[in-house]
């Protein structure tokens, strides 16, 4: 039978430090996924994974056994990723040009209902999306990633980011507004 996280943690805390590797193997994929979604960079995401598990190891004694290790390390990773985005900063203060003419860079695509998967493979669309994501602040991007891509509730986002639920909701809303503006050049044909 597979060892559960709590028994591994007990083993680590009683001296079997090597056992921590099992937790890393078990949860690193989830941690990497959210780190990559937030940072948008593979190398940064790898760094976040390492930092998150290191912090997790250092704080393992404070881990409360009534909670899930997966949730706990996930939250640590989100905060590491957020810190990294804040450190990188250039996009955090990016201002959207209000007078920009979206038709200048208009990309014409067919009706999304026809074959959304195929359409999303378009490099132009991906580039537009990447640019739109870069226009978000680190908090907005993180809140949006957690809501839209990780399907986390407002309460979970708030708890992860240590902000009020209403602030989390506002961050998601601002992100959606900016992303929609960024995607405006996409003209969807009916």
């Amino acid at each position: 039978m597979e060892e559960n996280d709590h028994s591994i943690i007990r083993a680590v805390l009683t001296g079997d430090k090597e056992a921590y590797g099992k937790l890393v193997v078990r949860h690193s994929q989830t941690v990497f996924r959210v780190a990559f979604r937030i940072t948008g960079d593979e190398a940064d995401a790898e760094e976040v994974v390492q930092e998150a598990f290191l912090r997790g190891y250092q704080k393992l004694e404070s881990f409360e056994s009534r909670s899930e290790f997966g949730t706990w390390i996930y939250r640590i990773a989100v905060n590491c990723a957020l810190n990294m985005k804040n450190k990188r900063k250039p996009d955090a203060n990016y201002q959207i040009a209000e007078d920009a003419d979206p038709t200048q860079h208009q990309v014409q695509v067919a009706d999304t209902a026809a074959d959304p998967e195929r359409l999303l493979l378009s490099q132009e669309i991906e580039a537009l999306q990447a640019r739109a994501m870069q226009r978000l602040t680190a908090t907005e991007r993180t809140a949006f990633v957690l809501r839209h891509m990780e399907a986390r509730s407002t309460e979970e986002i708030a708890a992860t980011l240590h902000i009020a639920p209403n602030a989390a909701k506002q961050a998601v809303f601002r992100a959606v507004q900016k992303l929609r503006r960024g995607l405006a050049p996409l003209r969807v044909n009916a």
Partner: protein
């Protein structure tokens, strides 16, 4: 008829609306809001989920 705000529609999209029934009923009655919501859905659906 008072139209729904973009914020209300975003909350509805993410199933985070405090009064989802109210929004659903309004969307059935109001074509302006229904169009706005359809556009919102379209742009959010376009956002690729990064693997």
């Amino acid at each position: 008829m008072k139209h729904l705000t973009e914020e209300e529609l975003v909350a509805y999209f993410y199933k985070d609306s405090p009064q989802p029934e109210h929004v659903t009923i309004h969307l059935r009655k109001c074509s302006d809001c229904a169009d706005t919501y359809a556009a919102l859905r379209r742009s959010l659906t376009l956002l690729k989920v990064i693997a």
